[in-house]
Amino acid sequence: MGDYILLAVGAILVNNILLIQYLGNCPFLGTSKSMDNATGMAMAVVFVLALAGIVTWIMEAVFLKPLGLEYIRTIVFIVVIAALVQFVEIFMKKSMPALYAGLGIFLPLITTNCAVMGVCLINIKEEYNFLEMLVSSLAYPAGFGLALILFAGLRERIIIGRVPGPLQDVSIALVTAGFMSLSFLGFKGMI
């Protein structure tokens, strides 16, 4: 049990996918302008990563490893994740319109998002078993959501602050992201 908690804390804080591993920066900047968008995006990433983690882990265990095809892992994962997310989106749009309205519109954006891809590859690289993979696939997006929501809160205030002309909008956002990253580096050594 302790191992799993350690794994989760490590994935959320110490190895934060956004601020330490620098994966998934497009939605980090794109959807952090308002708290609503950021929350929706965080939920979508959790949802997609949980699914993608399971499917890619099974792909790896059932096809790639037994057949010795690890060298095409990246391509296979891209196709699998993309097809999966597209399918889920189409399915949700028809069957769960309420959930789709809250979450679904964020799905296409992260179809082949580097954060999603990255976590799936980490799961394989670290040779997690199924349970560990599940914890990792939930904890990494939780860290993603944490960083994104914190960042959206900051940006909502920055928009109305006194920002010098050349630094407005995305520039100041990047500077802010840098400071956040520095502060997250402080978790290094916790584990």
Partner: protein, 697 residues
């Protein structure tokens, strides 16, 4: 190697099949424009627009939540393509354009010195900006930054200027402006807009009963853009040639420049640009909204009916005008004589209105005789506008005024003149009344060959409601004013022909409701003037006798002293689909008021037909242009500074005493020259609520 290929092919086949089936099984209809718009975007799914992916962004653009320039990666090229897709869908007939409504800029005084970020939204956070004016432009150009088409720039005066060639009406500037100064509107939105207390309105524009944007069109004239000036006028007044000639211009009474020297000669400028367009710009296109499928019947082709027809047509409704006389124009055709408003000029205005297409005209049919409400509804009309005018005359309460030969009401006298069959007058003519109709009768009598023409009025000349210029013109034409008199008796010969009028002299007593002292006849002061004809010009009433008949649909109309009762905002009557405006809806008034009422009625009918809320917003501006009351607080000044004294231009007119002036119906007042018009336009200070251009040169 083979395994890898097989695996990939298998994966591809499985995924493709699954998605193909899913898209059929779980098909959901969506607006086809979303796909078209999505094709125009960058397709990077980067999220830079703030939406989650290009599909979501396209959906937001089509829904109107995002502007067409939302795609940052695609930039201006993508925005232009999106605008083209949406523009084609929206109907090119109704172009959306952005307009800056503040003309303050550098001239507007500031409350404090702002040293913060050069951004309007940031500046607005601090006490709503540094400008003294609550609704004034802050001038940091947030709108300019928001525009991806390079269609906006901060002009030399410190407020944004729109390049109409480049503007696609995307709405980005409107969203960026914290003060609501940039307004992206369709022509029909502008037609439906009524002056509000929250608008940026110069005193003249607040006062004009038709709400014409006066500073804007004068500024166009100043820049030599006479066609644009005319189009600006046409947004509020479809009869500019006619009003340019006969309007008593209450706007000029409110002109701020009058505090320094003389008011700007606004009406002459309107006449100048309209005449210029009449002579040069016949190909100017007036935008018309796509057809709505509704049909509106207008009963009466007078100025209010014509104005309503014009605006209803521009809002996309089909219109049919029913007129009982042979020609359209109502009182301005049959009431105003040729020497003030030549018929062919009036018809240029009317032809322009009918030239919109989609307006049918049927003349020679009378309401209540040839057709009624039942037949209009049966004929497929969705709403009816009654603009039947005030064609009956009011009584002067002189015994036998209906019987004595030689006594004629002004309405009949002027109408016969308009029909080309003038009422024969003798050598001596008297007219009772002091309004513009009386002046028309007086000056027409001179032209019909009378040697001696008297104007009888119960008060003094200064109390007359007629335009000052008209009274002056009467003096020039040798008309004698007999003031402070009350006619009591007609003197006739044995055959009942009029030979004279006996009157009592008046003295002035206590002021009445209108603020003027009321006349009191003096006993035993009888005086007789020998006359051959007597014209009654003391007011008109509406002939609404058809509403008294029992059992007809129209009997549900309420009338008050002949006028048809309506809601003065929406112009709706007691019958929901019947509206009324102009002289028949209240005390008869000015041409420009009838024109303004026509547009309000068009708005009411449009809102009724489209099922929208008809009531005016509570911020509606209500100005009484006669008593000069109700202006936006703080906009009427006691004095102004920084103005060089320059008198206004003269009204050019036919030489008083000349043959043309006394004996023909040639137009008396002439159009100003281009040189003088430019000179006068440069006198305009382009006022807004509180600031104005100082030291115009």
């Amino acid at each position: 190697m083979i395994e890898a290929l097989l695996l990939m092919m298998g994966l591809g086949a499985v995924a493709g099949t699954l998605l193909g089936i899913a898209s059929k099984v779980f098909y959901v209809w969506e607006d086809p424009r979303i796909a078209l718009v999505a094709d125009c975007l960058a397709g990077a799914n980067c999220g830079g627009c703030g939406y989650t992916g290009c599909g979501a962004c396209a959906a937001a653009i089509v829904a109107g939540e995002a502007d067409v320039g939302a795609c940052i990666v695609g930039g201006a090229a993508a925005a232009a393509k999106v605008a083209a897709v949406l523009g084609l869908e929206a109907g090119a007939a109704e172009p959306l354009t952005s307009e800056n409504t503040c003309t303050g800029g550098f001239r507007a005084p500031e409350k404090f010195s702002y040293m913060g970020v050069n951004d309007c939204r940031a500046a607005y956070l601090l006490y709503a900006g540094a400008k003294d004016c609550d609704v004034g432009c802050l001038g940091f150009g947030s709108c300019v930054k928001a525009c991806v088409f390079d269609a906006l720039k901060i002009g030399p005066d410190g407020y944004p200027v729109v390049d109409e060639e480049k503007c696609v009406g995307c709405g980005a500037c409107e969203k960026a402006c914290p003060k609501g100064i940039m307004q992206v509107r369709k022509p029909s939105d502008r037609i439906l807009h009524m002056n509000l207390v929250t608008d940026r309105l110069a005193p003249c524009r607040q006062t004009c009963p038709a709400e014409v944007n006066i500073p804007k069109y004068i500024n166009h004239i100043k820049r030599g853009e006479y066609d644009k000036a005319w189009l600006t006028v046409m947004e509020r007044n479809p009869l500019p040639l006619s009003t340019g000639r006969v309007c008593p211009h209450p706007c000029e009474d409110a002109c701020r420049r009058a505090l320094a020297d003389d008011p700007v000669s606004i009406n002459q400028l309107k006449r100048f640009c309209s005449d210029w367009v009449m002579n040069h710009g016949t190909s100017l296109k007036i935008p018309v909204a796509p057809d709505t499928g509704y049909r509106v019947a207008i009963v009466g082709g007078g100025p209010s009916g014509l104005s309503a027809a014009f605006y209803l047509r521009r809002l996309g409704h089909k219109v049919k005008i029913f007129e009982w006389l042979p020609k359209l124009g109502g009182m301005i055709y049959y009431g105003i004589p040729q020497y003030r408003l030549p018929k062919e000029i009036l018809y240029k205005d009317i032809d322009r209105i009918l030239g919109l297409g989609g307006i049918e005209v049927k003349t020679g049919v009378k309401f209540g005789v040839d057709f009624d409400l039942e037949s209009l509804v049966g004929g497929g009309f969705d709403a009816v506008l009654m603009t039947i005018g005030a064609m009956n005359h009011a009584s002067a309460r002189i015994p036998d005024e209906d019987k004595v030969k030689g006594v004629v009401p002004a309405t009949v006298f002027l109408r016969r003149q308009g029909l080309g069959n003038p009422y024969p007058v003798g050598k001596k003519v008297a007219v009772i009344g002091g309004g513009n109709v009386a002046m028309d009768c007086l000056r027409s009598s001179v032209r019909l060959g009378a040697d001696k023409v008297y104007c009888l009025y119960r008060r003094e000349v200064k109390d007359m409601p007629a335009n000052k210029v008209e009274i002056e013109a009467c003096h020039h034409e040798g008309i004698e004013f007999v003031t402070l008199c009350t006619p009591t008796r007609f003197i006739t010969d044995d055959e009942g022909n009029l030979t004279g009028i006996e009157y009592l002299k008046n003295e002035l007593g206590e002021p009445d409701a209108s603020g003027r002292r009321s006349p009191v006849p003096i006993k035993d002061s009888e005086t007789v003037i020998p006359i051959d004809n007597f014209i009654l010009a003391i007011g008109q009433t509406t002939n609404s006798a058809f509403a008294d008949e029992e059992g007809t649909a129209v009997s549900r109309l309420e009338t008050s002293r002949g006028s048809i009762v309506n809601d003065t905002d929406t112009h709706q009557t007691a019958i929901p689909y019947v509206f009324t405006s102009g002289d028949c809806a209240g005390p008869p008034g000015l041409l420009v008021a009838a024109v303004g009422a026509g547009r309000r009625a068009a708005r009411g009918i449009h809102k009724y037909l489209m099922g929208e809320d008809m009531a005016f917003p509570p911020t509606r501006l209500r100005v009484d242009s006669r008593r000069m009351k109700g202006h936006i607080p703080g906009t009427i000044f006691d004095s102004i500074e920084g103005i060089q004294r320059k008198g206004r231009i003269e009204q050019p007119e036919l030489e008083p005493g000349s043959y043309e002036r006394q004996h023909t119906y040639a137009e008396v007042d002439l159009t100003v020259t281009e040189e003088n018009a430019l000179k006068e336009a440069n006198r305009c200070m382009r006022c807004c609520l509180t600031c104005y251009n100082k030291d115009t040169s």
